[in-house]
């Protein structure tokens, strides 16, 4: 029988799922209160534009082509009055009220919406301007719509995405551009090189700022200072720049090769963990009505459901500055705007773009009048940073407790860039400045072209307030020592190998026969399709007759641990879990770090408590109930150790997503969890699933190793992608930069490159039943003993599907009395074989055998051992 209390709890969370579980203890709410402004029942208001009439009413345009007029009401849950002014527009991702007349930026037109008969409904839509290209691509959004004192509108056009979606395109004029529209409706293109430029804003000096979204050629979400004629880094838009077009009269900007055009820098790079889909930004001109952050920008963030704060200063005459966390748990914020009363109205949109719930509607942030203890502003100094605090500090922070991380990015076609070349900088000293609100943090080693993310230790103000957000990220394009030298943070690097499919790099551990990759601890595990037992919801039914992909199921608890034979370290992983009613189960990363999965929304996705760790509930709930599959997408960071073996970073969940809901971000385990199956702490271990109570099942486990620094420079290129010069081949051709073998008995061997010990790496894609044998140290193609075989019917074929590129590395090292070959697929060691005797010396050879099909090889490199 269902426990009614638990069921009510579930209902509560199912209906209130929009509200973060941590809301009750939300420390930010003491300073900035979030007030919902619910719309009419049943209406889904996906906000795209926001502005205010002179009497304080709000005009809201939506993705659904509506314009609502909202009369805000006072109170905690403001029963605002919503009135539908217009509908039937083609999206409205920008809105500006000019002399109390609504102007909406549709996909294809900047429109003036008139109510000529005065009945409160728009009856005439005038075209102000439509002079830009729209090919019809789904992603060709038009964003806006700030207006300067002269009456010019500013807007920006999204590039198009088609197949493959990570290559942006600009096939019609001014995609990827920022445009000015004069009051007469004339378009003036200003600058190019933007990608998904969701937000535009002017500051007090009428300098134009733009927030873009991370993606190809955009390593993380930036805030640009838009200056006429500049190029901001996304190459697609160059097609419409006159000088580029003159140099390339026929061509189009390459998807993968960096263009030879000078790039303007971002004033601020927002860390990926803070923003993955940046909305717009707005300047605080509230003269203190919104608290102590006057003249700073507030930035909407959709994916994580936040509002961020950005503060700029000029160094060497150009803007750069810092971004801070400001307010969490606001839902999928796409638009922010200040009301005449100085409240920050938030417009949300989520659908299809993967934001945090609530994914629609309006809310507002009100300052409670209590000044939070925050880092109000950061200024670059000659030898570090000057921090201005909102309140006097009680005491200086401990120098040793200040963490200063320096990093930059790669500028490339891949979708975003990890934080690259990261290192922790030493803080020399920390001291008060003129007052106890001024902190000088001396860092001798600051360089241009870097982002500094500084985290202060716990601090309190003189009045006893705890530092609310102890962290900022400051983008250094120029230093005070050399203000004339600009170094971009996003570094030009050699283009990575083109990618064909989104899920390249994953290993699939549950395709077909699971035996090679799974070790059930006992006979209590079965591998078959599974579903909730209709008669007894506390148990699961397993059987051949059921539909669905097979899953590992344990029907009696506690189960033995189910372990992978492969070990993982830092990974992105994906799996699905189903629980019976009342069940409890655990995933143990590296066999040590537990993620608890219980039939209870608050405990589904918790980090369980252990000795010295009180545990961590998920930030939000995404649980949909017993008998349902729950799809997880997780980024796990293995603990890191210094050379002496001391732990310098704990194991953590960088991100846990259940369906589209973010359960955790940067959740750390201080040590191993209770019931760990692996001893001590280490950088790798098996993926383990265990049932603690009732019955549970897991399926679809796949992961992608998060690679360490690349050492590819030390490799010799074996194939130039064009000719077979230096190879002995039979039945092999070159197509699109790849070596291609069709059918059995094709072979290829390096003639010039020879090795005995060392490493060979290449990308391979197979289809059909063809098998590819790889031999190292082959002297004759016909007689080289294969080190490993690849193809559908091989071990590798279980982990990597057909028609998907896979990176292969084969390492040959000397052992006592012989040698050992190790096969790595997508950076994952998969198999090792030991041999006795002396390793042969010779070329690298490939040979096909078996049935029909083809094999493609790309990017072949080799490195003989020294």
């Amino acid at each position: 029988m269902t426990n009614p209390i638990r069921w009510m709890a579930f209902l509560f969370f199912a209906t209130m799922g929009a509200i973060p579980v941590t809301a009750q203890t939300d420390p930010e709410a003491e300073y900035y209160r979030l007030v919902e402004m619910p719309g009419p029942t049943g209406e889904i208001i996906e906000v795209g534009g926001l502005d205010f009439f002179s009497d304080g009413r709000i005009a809201v345009s939506t993705r659904r082509g509506q314009v609502w007029i909202v009369e805000p009401a006072e109170g905690e849950r403001a029963a605002s009055s919503f009135h539908l002014f217009a509908e039937g527009l083609q999206e409205g991702l920008g809105l500006s009220v000019v002399d109390d007349v609504v102007h909406v930026l549709q996909r294809g037109e900047l429109s003036r919406l008139l109510d000529r008969d005065g009945d409160g409904r728009c009856d005439t839509v005038e075209c102000v301007c439509d002079d830009w290209g729209y090919s019809g691509n789904y992603h060709e959004f038009a964003f806006g719509l700030p207006r300067d004192r002269a009456g010019n509108f500013y807007m920006a056009l999204n590039v198009a995405f088609s197949s493959p979606w990570w290559h942006a395109r600009s096939e019609v004029p001014y995609r990827g551009w920022v445009l000015k529209v004069t009051p007469e409706g004339r378009v003036e293109p200003i600058a190019c090189g933007v990608r998904s430029p969701c937000g535009l804003a002017l500051n007090e000096e009428e300098d134009l700022f733009l927030s873009d979204n991370q993606g190809d050629w955009v390593p993380s979400s930036p805030i640009y200072h838009i200056r006429p004629g500049k190029f901001y880094g996304q190459p697609a838009s160059l097609a419409w720049r006159k000088d580029w077009r003159e140099r390339h009269p026929e061509g189009w900007p390459s998807f993968t090769d960096p263009p030879d055009v000078e790039r303007a820098e971002a004033a601020i790079w927002i860390p990926y963990g803070w923003s993955r889909s940046t909305g717009n930004l707005v300047l605080d001109r509230t003269a203190g009505a919104f608290g102590p952050f006057g003249n700073q920008f507030f930035v909407a963030e959709m994916t994580n459901g936040k509002v961020l704060r950005a503060q700029l200063e000029k160094v060497g005459g150009e803007y750069q500055g810092a971004v801070f966390p400001f307010r969490d748990g606001v839902g999928s914020a796409l638009r922010v705007a200040f009301s005449p009363e100085g409240q920050l109205v938030i417009g949300r949109t989520q659908r299809g773009w993967g934001g945090q719930p609530p994914g629609e509607g309006l809310a507002r942030l009100e300052w409670t009048g209590v000044v939070p203890f925050e880092i109000e502003a950061v200024h670059l100094a000659k030898d570090g940073f000057d921090l201005r605090m909102t309140l006097p500090a009680k005491s200086l922070p401990d120098v040793m407790g200040i963490d200063v991380l320096e990093y930059d990015y790669d500028w490339w076609w891949e979708y975003g860039s990890p934080e690259k070349r990261a290192r922790h900088l030493k803080v020399a000293s920390v001291a008060f400045g003129r007052t106890r609100r001024d902190l000088h943090v001396a860092i001798p080693d600051l360089r241009a072209g870097k982002v500094i993310r500084m985290t202060l230790p716990s601090m309190t103000s003189k009045t006893g307030r705890v530092l609310l957000h102890p962290v900022f990220a400051y983008t250094i394009n120029r230093t005070l020592a050399r203000p004339d030298v600009r170094v971009p943070v996003a570094k030009r690097v050699p283009a990575p190998r083109p990618r064909e499919r989104n899920n390249e790099g994953y290993l699939y551990l549950m395709r077909g026969d699971p035996k090679p990759f799974w070790n059930p601890g006992g006979p209590d595990w079965s591998y078959a399709p599974v579903q909730l037992d209709g008669d007894d919801r506390g148990s699961l039914r397993v059987g051949e007759g059921l539909k669905g992909a097979p899953a590992w199921t344990a029907r009696d608890a506690p189960s033995t641990p189910l372990e992978t034979t492969l070990h993982h370290g830092s990974v992105q992983c994906w799996f699905e879990v189903m629980l019976a009613e009342g069940a409890s189960a655990e995933v143990l990363f590296e066999g040590r770090y537990a993620l608890r999965l219980e039939d209870d929304p608050r405990r589904f996705g918790a980090l369980p408590s252990s000795d010295g760790f009180e545990g961590l509930a998920p930030d939000r709930t995404g649980y949909v109930g017993a008998g349902k599959w729950h799809a997880f997408s997780i980024v796990f960071d293995a603990p890191r150790f210094d050379p002496s073996g001391r732990k310098i970073a704990p194991a953590r969940l960088a991100r846990v997503k259940l369906f589209d809901t973010l359960l955790h971000e940067n959740a750390e385990w201080p040590g191993t969890s209770e019931g760990a199956v692996m001893a001590g702490e280490s950088g790798d271990g098996p993926f383990v699933f265990r049932v603690l109570k009732g019955a549970a099942a897991i399926r679809g486990v796949s992961w992608k190793r998060v690679s360490g620094p690349s050492d590819e420079k030390s490799f010799e290129r074996l194939f130039d992608g064009l000719s077979l010069h230096g190879w002995d081949v039979k039945g092999v051709s070159v197509e699109k930069g790849a070596l291609v073998a069709k059918g059995a008995d094709a072979f290829a061997m390096t003639r010039d490159f020879r090795m005995s010990l060392g490493e060979v790496r290449f990308w391979v894609k197979w289809s059909g039943a063809l098998q590819l044998d790889v031999a190292l140290g082959a002297s004759e193609v016909e007689h080289g003993d294969p080190a490993f075989s690849l193809g559908r019917e091989t071990l590798a074929g279980r982990l990597v599907p057909e028609d998907m590129w896979c990176e292969v590395r084969i390492r040959r090292v000397r052992t006592h009395g012989g040698w050992r070959d190790t096969l790595l697929l997508n950076d994952q060691p998969v198999r090792s074989v030991e041999y006795e005797g002396t390793p042969p010396r010779g070329g690298v050879a490939f040979r096909t055998q078996g049935g029909d099909g083809q094999v493609r090889l790309q990017d072949l490199r080799g490195r003989p051992a020294q």
Partner: protein, 376 residues
């Protein structure tokens, strides 16, 4: 000044000048560009201390006479137009609680017999009526596609969006405008050049273009009865050269009709402005083009309507008759899957200094009511 000659190619072959045609009554032409700000919606009621008014009883007393006791629009009081059936959902002045309150308070002056009740019912009473009326409409789900289906009731509607491919092999039109008339006729315009792309009969459209990641085409719900091949030359010609067009506005000020305005341009600049009015006409439609020459253009202007061999008209499914001054002038029908037609060429000289009007009606040749989805 060189003489200009504008050739207008459309499916219709009937025309009249202002002098001889009935055309439009002219009242729909734009009057004045003054802007009226949106009226402020009324505030919701404050918490009443007295017992709440009985919305059902108030509805029976004040509303059921016209709207029917069930809200089905079948009340006993005769009205010029039958009131809406609430069970079908949709309200002319918005469907939110606040919008309904406004309609109850202010009525629909000049639009229908719906009277203002602000002097007859107190605000709490009006809110009670609104809440009762909301129980009569279909309850909207939280489904993401809720509200996607758009209907046309008493008033013409304009919807901007991507026009789907209307025939296999035809492209989508990224920037389109769809006008729904209350009699179930839907007309579709492309933007460049601005001309009638298609006519459909039946239900209006589903607004699902915002679904997923956005940017899909509108789902037109009616059956295509007349379509013009995309990417054929502009129907507007000057000196034999096609004219570009520039969209100016779309308006539904006239209740059951819509007025679109666009400019025609040659390489020098604007040649003429067109006011393109569509209105329901029994089971067909009436269309009036008012063409006004741009200032500083002179010489003889000529409009020519030509046949489908030039303009790429494809007739779908229905037989239509185009008539002018009440006389059938052109018949289009489909026989054995091929269009049978008779086409003529008309030339209209436009006198200098005055707008010129071209108007035509299109009616079905024979009724095939099984294909019609009546909206009222």
């Amino acid at each position: 000044m060189k003489a200009r000659r504008i050739v207008l190619l459309t499916a219709a072959v009937v025309l009249s000048s202002t002098a001889c045609g009935k055309g439009s009554d002219g009242s729909l032409l734009p009057t004045d560009d003054s802007v009226t700000a949106a009226a402020s919606p009324s505030k919701p009621p404050s918490k009443a201390k007295t017992p709440p008014p009985d919305g059902k009883a108030l509805f029976a007393q004040h509303c059921a006479g016209c709207h029917g006791i069930k809200g089905d629009g079948k009340g006993e009081t005769p009205t010029e137009r039958p009131p809406r059936d609430f069970a079908k959902g949709g309200f002319a002045f918005g469907n939110s609680r606040e919008a309904l309150f406004r309609t109850v308070s202010k009525g629909m002056p000049g639009r229908s017999d719906m009277q203002p009740f602000e002097n007859r019912l107190s605000p709490p009473e009006r809110w009670a009526v609104v809440d009762y009326v909301l129980t009569l409409v279909p309850q909207r789900s939280q489904d993401w596609m809720a509200g996607a289906e758009m209907r046309v009731d008493d008033e013409a509607r304009c919807v901007w969006g991507k026009i789907p491919s209307l025939k296999k092999g035809w492209p989508e039109i990224p920037r389109g405008l769809v006008v729904g008339l209350p009699n179930g006729i839907t007309l579709v315009w492309g933007r460049e050049p601005a001309y009638r792309q298609a006519v459909l009969r039946g239900a209006f459209l589903k607004r699902s273009d915002w679904g997923g990641r956005g940017g899909q085409a509108l789902e037109l719900r009616g059956e295509v009865i007349l379509a013009r091949k995309p990417r054929t030359a502009s129907p507007f010609l000057a000196d034999g050269e096609p004219l570009r067009s520039r969209w100016r506005s779309a308006s539904t000020l006239g209740g059951d009709r819509a007025v679109l305005r666009y400019e025609l341009l040659d390489e020098v600049g604007p040649v003429a402005s067109v006011t393109d009015e569509v209105a329901p006409d029994q089971d067909g439609w009436r269309r009036t083009l008012t063409v006004e020459r741009a200032p500083k253009t002179s010489g003889d202007l000529v409009f020519t309507l030509a046949g489908p061999q030039d303009s790429g008209v494809a007739l779908e499914r229905e037989a239509l008759v185009f008539s002018w001054q009440g006389r059938p002038t052109l018949r289009l029908s489909v026989e054995n899957g091929r269009i049978k037609k008779r086409m003529e060429r008309f030339v209209l000289p436009v006198p200098s200094g005055a707008p010129s009007r071209i108007a035509w009606r299109v009616q079905r040749l024979r009724k095939r009511s099984d294909r019609v989805e009546e909206t009222r």
